[in-house]
Amino acid sequence: MKAFTYHSASSVKEATKLASGSSAYLSGGMTMLPSMKMRLASYKDIINVKDIKNLQGIKVSGKTVKIGAATKHADVATSKDVQKAIPSLSSLAGRIGDAQVRNRGTIGGSIANNDPTACYPSACLALNAIIHTSGRTIEAEKFFKGMFETALKKGELITAIEFEIPEKSHYFKYPNPASRYAMVGVYVAKNKSGVQVAITGAQSSVYREKNLEKVLNTNFSPSALDGIEIDASQLNSDIHASAEYRASLILSSTKKAVEAAK
C-alpha cells in the first residue's frame, strides 16, 4: 500500500469539501483496501465517511426501505424491519462475503464500487431504488453505467439507498466457487409496476433481463419459464463459467427465485 493522508469526516459537507481529484471515500474498505494493498489503486487522501451520523440507519415507511449508505451488511441482514418489509434484501445482505466482510462492508460502498459480481446492485435495479447522494437523487436505472462505473461525479457521496417495497421478491445467488461472489445472481421482484428481473455476475454490469420479465408478467410461476432460451452472446465467459453455462444458470436461478419469492 502506498502512503496516503487519512481524514475522518463527521458530516457529508466536510467529506465533500475534503474530496479532490486524487481522493477516495473510505467506508467499509472491503474492496478498496485490498486494491490498495495490491497497488491496483492508490490515493493521496483517504476520507473516512463511516462515522458520519447521517449515513447511518434504516428507515421503513409504508412504501420504501431507506438505508443509510454507511450501514453494514450485517445490520441490514439482522434488521427486523428489513426482514419484515423486504425479506429478500436482508437475506441478500446476510450472504455477502463472510462474517468479517459483513461486519465491515457497507451498502453505499458496494453500490459505489459497482463490482459486476456484487449482489446489492441487482437489488437496486429490481426494487426501483433511488440513490440519494450529497447533491441529488439518482434512479437505479440510470446509476449503474458499466464495469465499476456509476453515474457518481468526482467527490459525490452516496448518502442513502431507498428501495421500493415489492409485493413479492427473492434473490437467488449462484456463487462463484472460489470468490463466492455471484457467478450469477438473480433478483426477482414483483412490484406494483410489474415484475423486474435483475441479473448480476453475468455481464460487465448489472442489467435487467426483459424477456424473462415479460413472461413472468403474464404468469409469475417457475413453469412459465420452461423452454425459454437465454441469449448467451452478451454474457461473460471466463475460467469459472462459459457464457452458455451462465445462460443456463440464469434460467435455473430465475426459476428458483420465482419459486421462493414471498
Binding site: M1, K2, A3, M38, R39, Y174, P177, A178, S179, Y181, I239, H240, A241, S242, Y245, S248, L249, S252
Partner: protein, 792 residues
C-alpha cells in the same frame, strides 16, 4: 496413568499458543536493524534477460542495496538442486537446467526470481522495485503438459523438454499378459495441478554477525537441517558449522516447505553481504506464483483382465510436468514415489510403468501431500472402477477378487508389504457406508431431482520414508533416517530433541505421549524441541508421513538407551545387578523385592555423581555422569498404511453442482498413538483430496500467465463443502518399526480423489476430468443427453 498414554486422545498441548495468537512464526520475528526485501519477479513465462537496470531504483528513498543475477554470478553462489538422480531407460542421467537463485540470462516461469531490493521498510523496497527496469526478450512459452515434448526446447541441450524417460517393471512380461488377456480396459486421466496453499506464506530472515562469522536463517521450513546442508554445500553461502537455521512455528507445509527456495538462499546471502538482518515475507499472490506446485500428470493406463475378474497386468504411460526447473524432490515424486504404488491393494502379477518428465514454463512442481501416491491411487482406482463397469461386475466384488491376502507380500514392482488385512477395512467400510442400502438412497435423491452416485476407493501408500540403503541405491542424495535425543534434566524433567519438524502435526503431544509411556514421566514434565539446527542433532525433517514411524522410533530407541543406563545406576544404588532390575511405569525395581528408585531419582543421581561425606557416588565404575541418550533410527522397510473409503455424491442436474453427502473411511494406520490427532490428519487430507476432485485447479493461460493466482479465482474448499466424515480404523501393526505405526498424514488426500470421482461418474454415467467443477459436470450431462438423443 502411563500404560494408557499410547492410544489415548490427549488434547494437543501446542494448541493454546496457536489459538490465542501466541505462536511465533518467522514473520513475527523482528531483529534490531532489520531491513526488508522485495523480490522482482518475472512477469513473463519465458524470456531472455537483456538488461537489468537498477540505476533509478538504487536512488529511491530507503534503498540499502539491490542484488541481481549478476551478483549471484560474481559471488559464485550455487544454483538450487534436484536431490534425487533418475536414470532414463536408455541409461542416461536425467537432464536438468541450471537454477540460479536469481535468474541471470533467462526467466522460465511467471514469478521466477530476477532481483531483490533491500530497503529500510518493505514499502520502500516495493516502491523501489517498481523502478527496476528489466529489459526482456519475450519468447513463446511452453505451458501444456501433453504438448511439451512437441514444443520448442526451453533449454539448450534438453531435447523435447524431456528431463527423463524412465521405466519401472518388466515390459516384455507385461505385454505378454496383455496378449493373453480376455479383456483390456483403458482410461485416459489427468491429475490436476494444485497450489499447496499453506495457511502461513513462506518467509525468511537472514542475520549475520561479522565479528563471530555466525549466520542465522529463520525460515518457514519442514526440515531446517536439510536447508542448512543444501545452502552450505550446494549454494555455498556459508559453512555449515557457522550456519544456524531456525524453523520456528510453521503454519502448514503440505510438502511445499520441504525445499530451500531461491528466497532462502538469497536472504541468507544478502544478510551476510550487507551485514544487517534482512527480512522477507511472501505475499499470497507470490505464494501462488512461486511455491512449488503439486501433481500435474496426464496418464494413459491399461488393465489386462480375465473373464473371471482376475487382473493379470497393468500398463501405464504418464507424462509428469516438472515446471520450469527441477526442484529438490521433483524427480522422485513422479517416479519412485509414484510407479511402485500403481498396483494398489491388488495382487497384480506383472506391470510396467513409463514416466516421461517434462519441463514447461510454469512454476516448479514438487512433492505435495501424498507426493506420487495420490496420482498412483487415482490411476488404479479409476481403472478398477472402469473395468468393473465394463464387465458388469459389482465394483466392490471386483476389488475383493483381486486383493492381496498373504503377508509379507512381494509386489511385482518394488515393495515388500509387511502387513495388512485388506478385507478387514474394506468390509468394515462397506458396512459403515451401508453400501447395500445405496439403491434406496439413490431413489430418494432422484425423487428430489438429484443424481446420486456412490464411489469406492482403496489405497496403499509407502510411508515412513525411508530405509537409507534402499533410497540411496535408487538415486537419493541423502539417507532418510531420523535422529532423537532424550535429555533428562537434573530435576527429573525431560527435553526431547527431534529431527522431525511439526508444522501442524502435533508432535509436541504425540512424541511426549511416547516418552511418557516409555519412561513413566508425566507429559507435563516433557518438552519437545525441534526446528533449530543449533539445538537438536541433525535430522531429516517431516514429509512423507515419516515423523512418527521414523522420528518417533528414534525417540523410542533413545528411551530404551535411557532405561538401559538407568538400570545400571539403579542396580548400583540398590546393591543389585542390572539383570535383576526391572523398569516399569517410571520405577526401577529389584526383582522380588521392595527396593526401588524412581527414574527422577536416577536422573538426579546421574548428575550428582560425586561422594559427599558418607554418601557414596551412585554411579557404578565406568558409567559416565549425566542422563542423556541420542539415537538415530534407520527403518528396515517402508511402512504401508492402507484403507478403504466410500462416499456418496448428489449432483444437481440443472447446475451440475456436486455435493459430497456422505464420506466413510476405514484406515489401517497400524498402532495409533493419539487417535484425536490422527482424526485431524484424516480430516485435513480429505479436505485437500475432495478439493482436488471437485474444486482446486491451477490454470495457466497459453502465454503462461497464472489465472488462478488468488483466492478470487483458485477455489479452496471450505467447511460447507464437506459432510460430517465417518472415520473408523482397523489395525495391523507395522513390523518395520518398534512402535508398529504406519503413518497417517497423507492418507486422506490419497484416497479421496478417486473415491469422489468414482462417485461422480457413477452419478452422471459418463466420464469427467478433475476437478469436476459444476460447469464440467453440467456439460458432461448435456453431452450425454445429446449423444443419447442423436443415437435414438
Amino acid at each position: 496413568m502411563t500404560s494408557s498414554m499410547i492410544g489415548s486422545k490427549v488434547e494437543r498441548t501446542e494448541d493454546k499458543k496457536f489459538i490465542t495468537g501466541k505462536g511465533r512464526y518467522t514473520a513475527d520475528i523482528t531483529l534490531h536493524g532489520q531491513t526488508h526485501a522485495f523480490f522482482i519477479r518475472s512477469p513473463h513465462a519465458r524470456a531472455k534477460i537483456k538488461k537489468v537496470d537498477i540505476s533509478k531504483a538504487e536512488k529511491a528513498p530507503g534503498v540499502v542495496t539491490i542484488l541481481t543475477g549478476q551478483d549471484i554470478v560474481n559471488d559464485k553462489i550455487g544454483g538450487l538442486i534436484a536431490g534425487w538422480k533418475i536414470v532414463s531407460k536408455d541409461g542416461t542421467d536425467m537432464k536438468l537446467p541450471a537454477h540460479p537463485p536469481l535468474a541471470h540470462e533467462q526467466v522460465n516461469y511467471v514469478g521466477d526470481h530476477v532481483a531483490v531490493v533491500i530497503a529500510e521498510t518493505y514499502e520502500q523496497a516495493k516502491n523501489a522495485g517498481e523502478l527496476v527496469n528489466v529489459d526482456y526478450k519475450v519468447l513463446k512459452a511452453v505451458v501444456d503438459t501433453a504438448g511439451a515434448m512437441n514444443s520448442e526446447a526451453i533449454y539448450e541441450g534438453i531435447d523435447k523438454n524431456l528431463c527423463f524417460d524412465w521405466e519401472l517393471g518388466d515390459k516384455a512380461k507385461t505385454d505378454e499378459a496383455f496378449a493373453k488377456a480376455d479383456r483390456v480396459v483403458q482410461i485416459n486421466i489427468n491429475n490436476n495441478r494444485l497450489v499447496p496453499n499453506a495457511m502461513e506464506p513462506r518467509a525468511s530472515i537472514g542475520d549475520y554477525n561479522s565479528s563471530t562469522n555466525d549466520l542465522t536463517l529463520y525460515t518457514t521450513s519442514q526440515n531446517p537441517h536439510l536447508t542448512r546442508l543444501v545452502i552450505s554445500a550446494f549454494n555455498g553461502v556459508h559453512p555449515e558449522h557457522k550456519f544456524r537455521v531456525v524453523a520456528p512455528d510453521v503454519g502448514g507445509g503440505f510438502g511445499s516447505k520441504i525445499y530451500p527456495y531461491a528466497e532462502d538462499v538469497v536472504i541468507a546471502w544478502a544478510a551476510k553481504k550487507i551485514e544487517r538482518p534482512v527480512k522477507w515475507v511472501c505475499e499470497r499472490t507470490d505464494s501462488f506464483l512461486s511455491d512449488c506446485h503439486g501433481r500435474d500428470h496426464i496418464t494413459h493406463a491399461e488393465l489386462a483382465v480375465q473373464n473371471d475378474g482376475k487382473v493379470i497386468g497393468l500398463r501405464v504411460d504418464t507424462i509428469a510436468n516438472l515446471g520450469g526447473y527441477g526442484s529438490l524432490f521433483a524427480t522422485v515424486t513422479p517416479t519412485y514415489l509414484y510407479a511402485p504404488l500403481i498396483l494398489g491393494l491388488y495382487d497384480i502379477p506383472v506391470a510396467y510403468c513409463n514416466v516421461k518428465a517434462v519441463f514447461t514454463n510454469t512454476a516448479p512442481v514438487d512433492a505435495y501431500r501424498g507426493a506420487g501416491r495420490p496420482e498412483a491411487t487415482y490411476l488404479i482406482e479409476r481403472i478398477m472402477d472402469q473395468a468393473a463397469r465394463e464387465m458388469g461386475i459389482d465394483r466392490a466384488e471386483f476389488r475383493k477378487k483381486n486383493f492381496i491376502r498373504k503377508f509379507p507380500h512381494q509386489q511385482c514392482l518394488v515393495h515388500n508389504i509387511d502387513s495388512g488385512d485388506y478385507d478387514a477395512h474394506f468390509d468394515k467400510a462397506l458396512k459403515l457406508a451401508d453400501y447395500n442400502g445405496f439403491a434406496k438412497r439413490r431413489a430418494k435423491s432422484e425423487a428430489k431431482g438429484k443424481l446420486r452416485g456412490i464411489g469406492i476407493s482403496t489405497y496403499i501408500e509407502a510411508c515412513g520414508i525411508a530405509p537409507s540403503s534402499v533410497v540411496m541405491s535408487i538415486g537419493a542424495g541423502v539417507g532418510l533416517w531420523e535422529s532423537a535425543e532424550v535429555r533428562f534434566n537434573a530435576t527429573g524433567n525431560i527435553s526431547v530433541f527431534t529431527g522431525s519438524h511439526s508444522h501442524g502435526q502435533g508432535h509436541a503431544t504425540t512424541f511426549a505421549q511416547i516418552v511418557a509411556d516409555k519412561l513413566g514421566v508425566p507429559m507435563d514434565n516433557i518438552d519437545l524441541v525441534h526446528g533449530d539446527t543449533d539445538k537438536g542433532p541433525f535430522g531429516m525433517g517431516t514429509y512423507g508421513s515419516r515423523s512418527l514411524a521414523v522420528g518417533g522410533s528414534a525417540i523410542s530407541k533413545a528411551c530404551d538407551k535411557i532405561i538401559e543406563k538407568g538400570k545400571k545406576v539403579a542396580a548400583h544404588m540398590l546393591e543389585s545387578t542390572p539383570e535383576e532390575v526391572d523398569f516399569k511405569e517410571g520405577e526401577f525395581i529389584v526383582r522380588n523385592s521392595n527396593k526401588k528408585k524412581t527414574i527422577g531419582e536416577i536422573a538426579f543421581a546421574c548428575y550428582l555423581p560425586g561422594t559427599y561425606g558418607e554418601i557414596k557416588s551412585p554411579l557404578p565404575e565406568g558409567v559416565e555422569p549425566g542422563l542423556k541418550e541420542t539415537a538415530f533410527y534407520d527403518p528396515i522397510n517402508f511402512s504401508f498404511p492402507a484403507g478403504s473409503h466410500i462416499c456418496e455424491v448428489e449432483v444437481d442436474k440443472e447446475t451440475g453442482e456436486t455435493k459430497v453427502v456422505t464420506y466413510s473411511c476405514v484406515d489401517d494406520f497400524g498402532n495409533l498413538i493419539n487417535p484425536m490427532i490422527v482424526e485431524g490428519q484424516v480430516h485435513g487430507g480429505l479436505a485437500q483430496g475432495i478439493g482436488q476432485a471437485l474444486y482446486e485447479n491451477t490454470h495457466y493461460d497459453e502465454s503462461g500467465q497464472l489465472l488462478t493466482a488468488s483466492y478470487m479465482d483458485y477455489t479452496m474448499p471450505r467447511a460447507d463443502n464437506f459432510p460430517e466424515f465417518r472415520i473408523e480404523y482397523t489395525c495391523t501393526p507395522a513390523t518395520s518399526n518398534p512402535l508398529g505405526v504406519k503413518g497417517c498424514g497423507e492418507a486422506g488426500a490419497i484416497a479421496s480423489p478417486p473415491c469422489v470421482m468414482n462417485a461422480v461418474i457413477d452419478a452422471i454415467g459418463t466420464d469427467v476430468s478433475m476437478p469436476a467443477t459444476a460447469e464440467k459436470v453440467w456439460k458432461a450431462i448435456n453431452n450425454k443427453t445429446k449423444s443419447k438423443k442423436e443415437a435414438a
